[in-house]
Assembly symmetry: C2
């Protein structure tokens, strides 16, 4: 026989589990959207691109639902300390996923003008970036689903690879633009798309940080080296 | 003589007022950062730019503080319905301000490579965008401080002007890049800076939406027309 207190605790735990489940589902949707966006860029399919843009609403709706669940959980249970930490982590992670979805939709959206003008050359590097980012998102969500902060930390560290690939691709795009002015407009879209993908990686690392804080109650080391050199004084020499 | 209930209510109200005050302070810091960033771009002052980048930490720290206050408020008071709505609006607005600060720091950061390469021509349009954005931020914060949702709504509507100015500036930058390949690298920085500023406007409208929801308990109409045409099929014809 369970006591009333056990019952309340179990119910709280099951609500928290439900919340985690919703977030994982939301994250899977965002990762699928990113993969669909890559596919759309590769196939240059305007209709599919519009579908990706429209699907973003489902992610936004899920974030709203999660917010409501959090409010209900807070109002009904008034959780303390460690439990509050879980609830706040959930809220922040949901917001990171929502932005990953935004960026994925943006990549799909920018593929529409690209389909009319872009040469194959400059666009070909984007898929690699996007695949790195999608893998990061999938991996950090798996880590979150299992509450495995160490696994999340490996994603956090691995984001440096995406940052380096982004910087390389950025330089590559500059050379295409210099080579032929007709490349300039499509390449500016590709620049923004690449930046969006690089930002997706940043949100994956945010999720890892929130997971770490949730599990250990203290922040993950903030001393991570930022590897986006494109807003760095060294880079522009290339274009001089 | 006040009853215990009155006392609890008053104390809750004063904590909420404190929270609102912290958010307004945080917002003023972000608006000042944006103004400092514009100044830095105009004067091409690398040291001042680095100061703006460093100051962003103060905004991040304030957001952390606000988060802690919210947690404490929730744990101690377990507010219901309308009060919870206030607390959640505060949390979301703090997160929007934090991102406005990020974008301002990013504009300052990108001014450093710009100082070595950019011609005066392409950069001159950026200040106007930034001034529009800074005015939006200041105005929406004033609306928030006074809990004046209608005033916030006017900012929300007025953001269309910034979106249009951004689109015009974007097209202008493309022509500079096509004119002379030496403009390409500085102009890609200016593109990102302009995009950052356009995003600041979006966050100002988010704040207006949260304020509206806080005051009226229902969402501001979502049918706002998006006026950033640069990721629109019509635009790239310019560059063909």
């Amino acid at each position: 026989m369970t006591s009333t207190k056990d019952h309340i605790i179990k119910s709280y735990d099951s609500e928290l589990a439900r919340l985690t489940g919703e977030i994982v589902r939301m994250g899977e949707l965002a990762a699928s959207q990113l993969e669909a966006a890559i596919d759309v860029v590769e196939r240059r399919d305007e209709r599919a691109a519009q579908r990706v843009v429209a699907n973003d609403e489902a992610i936004d709706a899920l974030e709203q639902e999660i917010s409501h669940d959090v409010v209900r959980l807070l109002a009904l249970r008034a959780p303390m300390a460690g439990d509050l930490r879980n609830v706040f982590a959930a809220l922040r992670i949901a917001s990171d996923i929502e932005r990953i979805g935004d960026y994925a939709a943006n990549v799909a959206k920018r593929s529409i003008p690209l389909s009319m003008v872009a040469p194959v050359g400059p666009a070909s590097g984007l898929g690699y970036l996007a695949k790195l980012a999608a893998a990061e998102v999938r991996e950090v969500l798996a880590a979150y689903a299992e509450q495995d902060a160490e696994r999340g930390y490996r994603v956090w560290k691995g984001d440096a690879e995406l940052d380096e690939a982004y910087t390389g691709y950025f330089r590559q795009l500059l050379t295409y633009m210099m080579e032929d002015p007709r490349n300039i407009t499509p390449c500016t879209h590709l620049l923004f798309m690449a930046k969006n993908i690089e930002r997706i990686g940043d949100h994956a690392t945010n999720i890892a940080e929130n997971l770490w804080f949730q599990v250990y109650g203290e922040p993950l080391d903030k001393q991570r080296t930022k590897r986006d050199f494109t807003s760095n004084p060294e880079m522009p020499k290339l274009g001089e």
